[in-house]
């Protein structure tokens, strides 16, 4: 490919990065114009991304790199670009959602005291995410992996005056950092075993037998723990709900569409390695399936609309992981792609509500349907898509996953997936019914109106995509499945074969979803509050268990957080008392000994002279070497010494 094209593709991540530096350094000068810079940069990046996608479609994968650190035979790292079909779709999604969010944020963040800084970090995030997506090796991936974590930290903590936001940011960073450390160790293992960090070369090395068996599984599990941290899978899911303290557009971009999907993307990216360890694949599948179910149950009882959507995100990411784990590669990534649109839309809808009124609690809302029609209808579309109702986007990918689990004989996972479908439909429509139907419950809800156009336009665009994005992967014309496919190698290992589209399974999953919506209507439709109330009374312990997030956070607090603090105190005290005490004690011992020896220093000049003479005699005796003289001399020395000491002046 030509240098011009390379430059153009490089510009995709570099432009937002430049925008970050400009906005961060000159933010005060730029002020309110920051959003125009951001939107312009993102639009450009989006157009370039589309161009890259076009190039990939016509010419195949793009790949080039420059040396970053070169140690000759000692190994070298490069920073490069690898845009294959997977990455091409991903960068388009990232730049597109990012563009939408930048548009939306312009109005949403109006009047914020750190307006330019917000856009700066948002752009840094976009740049990092793009850098991650196009990474051809683990080192580059890790670099940007950490950077998106940083951006997430900064954006969750954007309103850092609020202790809740500050603590949530801290929690998010630390929890994901645990995953990152595992990922790092995984990278270290790969480096040690294969001497490279490139995805392709590691895969080849593994095929050639340089790494295999338990070690390969261990390395992959560690890499997967990294993905678990980023994608908020069990047991590192605890940060994502708290992360909702950040501005809502941030949640839409980072905690729904892009960054949290990075974990899934990582597994997809390294799929050729993963498929070589069936044990690792099983772990991925079961962690994913379990997370999907668990998060869905937690979402059932939440009152905060953003948290409901957050748990939904955890749950949906679990789906994707499960899909990858069972070998339904295309389905998993297809779901990621669809999910990005409808989940971003859900968050933007929530953001619109926040914009109109200050509370996140759905029971403070009510009756918003008439007052905020655009928000309502887009939310319904997104909800239907999430619930997997035909023919919206979510249906196509979710159905592929459910069907995949069935066809590959993972019946437990299939059962979990179906239950999750039901729960998903229930909780999202519970939120929609409570928030939008009936009568307003507060003054704020009564006064709510739809947000300005700059915010609704992205929502409408995303709504359209929530309906239609899945249509490129229908069984009639499976464009997506023909484009993003596992490599021939992975397909061979997994023995993937074409399956006919199962209408029965599709009908089943849609029916389950509709049943969920129906139950939600039965319990939460206007005038039926007593149903929910009686259900709550009957299942109070279960409700408490779910509301306390299965007590997982409490468990972590009691064990890890307390443990680390106790250890910290112990080390501090050891350092202060023990170690420093030992050194001080040594000093004391020396001065004690000195004090005891002090009488020897009589201060009398002649006393010293006497000792000199005695020492000379002793030395002379030694030099003479005659044993007798030596003994006598020493005897004399001892006698004289004791007399001299006795003679203290």
């Amino acid at each position: 490919m030509s240098a011009g094209q390379q430059l153009l593709i490089l510009a995709i991540p570099v432009l937002p990065a430049l925008a970050f530096f400009v906005l961060a350094l000159f933010g005060r000068l730029i002020g309110e114009n920051a959003q125009y810079v951001a939107v312009f940069v993102n639009a450009t990046a989006f157009i370039f991304s589309c161009f890259a996608l076009f190039l990939v479609i016509t010419d195949g994968p793009i790949s080039f790199s420059v040396s970053w650190i070169d140690l000759g035979e000692g190994g070298s790292f490069s920073m490069g670009v690898l845009i294959d079909e997977l990455a091409a779709v991903m960068i388009v999604v990232v730049t597109f959602v990012s563009l939408m969010i930048n548009l939306y944020s312009g109005a949403f963040m109006e009047g914020d005291s750190r307006y330019a800084w917000y856009f700066a970090v948002l752009n840094l995030f976009t740049a990092s995410m793009l850098g991650l997506v196009i990474a051809p090796n683990f080192i580059q991936l890790y670099v940007f992996w950490e950077l998106v974590g940083l951006c997430s930290y900064l954006l969750i903590g954007h309103w850092f005056e609020k202790p809740a936001a500050r603590d949530a940011a801290q929690k998010a960073f630390i929890v994901t950092r645990i995953g990152d450390a595992a990922l790092l160790v995984g990278i270290l293992i790969f480096w040690r075993a294969t001497g490279t960090t490139s995805f392709a070369e590691i895969s080849q090395a593994a095929q050639a037998g340089f790494i295999g068996g338990l070690l390969l599984t261990a390395a992959l599990v560690l890499v997967f723990i990294g993905a678990v941290g980023k994608s908020a899978q069990f047991p590192l899911h605890v940060w994502l709900p708290d992360a909702m303290e950040g501005p809502t557009p941030v949640s839409a971009l980072i905690h729904a569409a892009t960054m949290v999907a990075a974990g899934v993307y990582l597994v997809a990216r390294t799929y050729d390695i993963f498929v070589q360890s069936p044990a690792a694949m099983l772990i991925v599948a079961y962690i994913g399936g379990f997370t999907a179910l668990m998060a869905a149950t937690m979402a059932l009882v939440k009152k905060d609309i953003k948290r409901i959507i957050a748990y939904s995100t955890v749950s949906q990411l679990g789906y994707m992981m499960m899909a990858l784990g069972i070998g339904a590669y295309t389905a998993g990534f297809f779901h990621l792609y669809n999910h990005a649109f409808f989940k971003a839309l859900l968050f933007l809808g929530a953001g619109s509500i926040i914009y109109a009124m200050t509370s996140y609690n759905i029971f403070d809302m009510g009756g918003l349907k008439r007052r905020m029609p655009i928000t309502f209808w887009t939310m319904v579309i997104a909800g239907l898509s999430l619930a997997g109702i035909f023919p919206l986007a979510g249906f196509w990918s979710k159905d592929l996953i459910v069907a995949g689990a069935f066809e590959k004989h993972y019946y437990i996972l299939f059962g979990m997936a179906l239950v999750t479908v039901f729960l998903t439909a229930f909780y999202i429509f519970r939120a929609i019914f409570v928030a939008f139907l009936g009568e307003p419950r507060t003054e704020a809800a009564r006064a709510a109106v739809d947000p300005p156009g700059v915010m609704t336009v992205p929502m409408v665009i995303l709504a359209a995509l929530s309906i239609g994005s899945g249509w490129i992967g229908t069984p009639v014309a499976d464009l997506f499945g023909g484009f993003v496919t596992p490599s021939e190698f992975a397909a061979g290992v997994l023995a993937i074969e074409e399956h006919a589209f199962s209408y029965a399974l599709a009908a089943l999953s849609v029916a389950v979803g509709l049943a969920g919506i129906a139950l939600a209507y039965a319990m939460y439709a206007p005038g039926r509050e007593h149903v929910a109330e009686s259900a709550y009374r009957r299942f109070r312990p279960v409700h408490a268990f779910l509301d306390r997030r299965w007590y997982i956070d409490d468990l972590y607090n009691a064990t890890f957080v307390r443990g680390a603090m106790a250890l910290g105190v112990a080390v501090r005290e050891f350092d202060r008392r023990g170690l420093d005490g030992a050194v001080t004690g040594l000093g004391r011992a020396v001065s004690w000994t000195g004090e005891r020896l002090r009488p020897l220093q009589t201060g009398g000049v002649q006393n010293y002279a006497l000792f000199i003479v005695i020492s000379v005699l002793a030395l002379a005796a030694v030099v003479l070497g005659d044993a007798l003289i030596l003994a006598a001399g020493l005897l004399v020395l001892i006698i004289l010494g004791s007399i001299a000491v006795g003679v203290r002046l």
Partner: protein, 173 residues
């Protein structure tokens, strides 16, 4: 010769003991002068009359006078008791000094000095000059040491002046 040696040795050593043991400081100083004279006599016997001259001039003359002056400046009524002029450590001191003397005498006496014959040293003043300036067949290290000695004397003179100078505030004491 032997007689002279015995007399000189007796003079030197007894006078030395006198320095140590006499109760009066002035007596000590005079005994010291006597001892120096004995050493000067030895120098004459050892074919070094020049050194003997130096010895008399510097030690018997200058040093003794200096010491006497110091005694004049610092003397206060002396204790009459002999014990009080000595340190409390006089017994170990005596033992140590005896040990040293015995040891030195023993070592120097049993040592085989090889072929010895008197009359080897520089006898004339001219030879001394050559020796100190490192000329002739003598080792040339003395040229340097000689100059160093000169410098030391100069410094010592200055130092003595500085140290013993009365300061104004001391006058008030």
């Amino acid at each position: 010769m032997t007689v002279a040696f015995v007399v000189l040795a007796a003079l030197t050593l007894l006078a030395g003991l006198g320095v140590v043991l006499s109760r009066h400081v002035v007596h000590s100083a005079l005994f010291m002068a006597a001892s120096f004279l004995g050493v000067a006599g030895f120098f004459v016997m050892l074919n070094a009359p020049v050194l003997a001259g130096f010895q008399v001039l510097i030690y018997v003359g200058a040093v003794t006078v200096l010491v006497l002056f110091a005694i004049m400046f610092t003397q206060r009524p002396q204790a009459r008791s002999f014990r009080l002029i000595l340190q409390r450590q006089h017994v170990p001191g005596l033992l140590a000094a005896l040990g040293l003397g015995v040891f030195l005498a023993y070592v120097l006496a049993i040592q085989d000095w090889g072929e010895v014959s008197p009359g080897q040293g520089p006898r004339a003043v001219e030879d001394f000059g050559a020796l100190l300036l490192g000329a002739g067949e003598y080792p040339d290290v003395f040229a340097l040491l000689f100059q160093l000695g000169a410098v030391i004397l100069l410094i010592a003179t200055i130092a003595a002046i500085v140290i013993s100078r009365r300061r104004r505030e001391e006058d008030e004491l």
